[in-house]
Assembly symmetry: C2
Homo-oligomer: 340 residues x 2
């Protein structure tokens, strides 16, 4: 007999409420409520009695009632934007997030980006209509409207990625600078004289980190740097592919912040008869093991998106748990080098 089986005395299973427990134990509803909340002003003995009854009847508090009474939703909202570049991003992020939230009593709801790319609107909607206790979003910008809005309202959040602004806030970010630096060093070790970076669009903070990392390493090793403008990891693959095909001169080293831009570039170069490992080298940031299948010799550096999700989950739970405005802590997770 399962523990949360219906104990209905013959009829349809009726959900036990505080009133049920009160009747069962002989205490008042208020007492039962506080006993379950582990209020220290409740006698130890009654706490046990109530806990036992709750366990026996399979009591579980009604979220709607709690939410109505307390104003807390016990919900975290994830703002979803389509990621063309990072394979399995959504899946891994959600896995990490829900993993961190298991047992916390919090639920995860997902809000789509409204078409037209307005990234602030869904967040305003959530905040204004009290649809969650905290929000998570990604693709953070140097100067991010969402961060500004949420800080101003004192609304808990955690972002994937940092801002450049002076105001501290909770975030989780991959060390893109370290990745880019390591990748460029690797290219130098392989004998590359020039390095080309397919960058994310400028406004995203991590674009700056990637560029900085590449430039620093290139300076150390005397390499030339090219970063194509009018082209980003968000460009349609066909466009990237075409760009690569018409590249002149062809750099002998590439840093790719994602699988797709690599595949697109490699396709373009291949049409010109250029092959990876022979005519150029590449280091690719991956978040899946997929690329190893298409070419086992590739130099890959791993970004653990599931871990990012886990950290974001912990971060936001901390933020909603503590008193308003406390602990704007950021955490940075490290690249995992897969080559050699």
């Amino acid at each position: 007999m399962s523990v949360d089986e219906s104990h209905g005395r013959g009829g349809a299973a009726v959900r036990p409420t505080l009133r049920t427990l009160a009747a069962e134990t002989g205490f008042a509803v208020a007492t039962v409520s506080r006993a379950l909340a582990n209020d220290p002003k409740i006698a130890e003995s009654t706490r046990e009695t109530v806990a036992a009854a709750a366990q026996r009847l399979g009591y579980v508090p009604d979220r709607a009632a709690q939410r109505l009474r307390t104003g807390r939703t016990k919900v975290i909202s994830l703002m979803l934007d389509p990621h063309h570049e990072i394979l399995g991003f959504t899946n891994h992020l959600i896995e990490g997030l829900t993993g961190a939230m298991v047992g916390s009593g919090y639920h995860l709801t997902v809000f789509p980006q409204t078409v037209g790319g307005d990234t602030l609107a869904p967040i305003q909607h959530v905040v204004r209509n009290n649809l969650a206790d905290g929000v998570i979003f990604s693709r953070t910008r140097d100067d991010d409207m969402r961060v500004r809005f949420l800080l101003e309202r004192g609304f808990p959040f955690a972002s994937h990625g940092r801002t450049r602004g002076p105001a501290p806030h909770p975030f989780v970010d991959f060390d893109n600078d370290a990745f880019a630096h390591a990748a460029t060093m690797r290219l130098a070790d392989k004998g590359a004289k020039s390095v080309c970076l397919i960058s994310p669009p400028e406004p995203y903070t991590f674009a700056g980190h990637l560029r900085a990392g590449v430039r620093r390493a290139a300076a150390e090793r005397g390499m030339t740097v090219t970063i194509p403008e009018h082209l980003s990891i968000d460009s349609p693959p066909e466009q990237v592919s075409a760009w690569a095909e018409s590249l002149d001169p062809v750099p002998d080293g590439f840093v790719f912040p994602g699988e797709v831009s690599y595949l697109a570039t490699a396709a373009g170069l291949r049409r010109r008869g250029l092959e990876h490992g022979r005519d150029y080298h590449a280091v690719i940031k991956v978040s899946s093991s997929l690329l190893s299948l298409v070419d086992p010799g590739l130099d890959q550096i791993f970004e653990d998106i599931r871990e990012a999700g886990r950290l974001l989950g912990e971060s936001i739970l901390g933020a909603v748990g503590t008193e308003k405005g406390a602990m704007p802590e950021g955490v940075i997770y490290a690249p995992v080098v897969l080559y050699r």
Copy 2:
């Protein structure tokens, strides 16, 4: 001035409630409630007055209160299981789902599969604790515990994939039979004499559909069929890869229900010096444009996961909207042939 700006008379923005509207319009709270609900027993004029006031004050009903009162959560739960095989599955499915739910007032929450692979537990949790009005799940089996449980409880749901059981229920399914048939025909057209199918694990309903489609076409065209046991699209890529490398004899035609199994198999065959297009043919079911990048010559058939999500969304909204038990309708969406 934005339409839902706070109209607070100087102080902190206080959310307007029905009581606010009642005071504002001079009607009773009950009247306001029913006016907003478009109750036909309310005079047209008052409906307009109330609607105007609601609009002006930026009134939006409190979900918690509605949920407490009505018992309806206005939430749909998506049961998430990790899909190694289909690239971008989660992302696309959620995009489709949320797209279909926009404007419906429903929210989407996501529940992870509890580790250990118990697929029923999270659903029971949602149903027993009234955490949603309907659930969505995928990877449906011939005889599916979840379907049985939900039908028995009369709980609204829509599954991605069918069951084989006699009881009808709402589902959305890809026409895997048609895909497999078309794929095999294509292989025959290319001159293949034998066809090998990497199948999903037996219990999943779509495994049967795929096998049937392949076998039917093979019979029509006089091809031999092999379906490796102890190997499925869920097998780790390394295992698939190793299997391919040791394959003997090597079939001259392959049907792949997903990108990953193709990449793994091709990697194994490549290590033996066998090349696609020369030594064997392949038709692959894809859900992204990624494979075109690695090999533009590949024969691909597209499964639109976003569309699946959209259909699932419509389906579940229909199911929760109508009276209990009505309209167990299933919908099948078609393959999109990309070759030629």
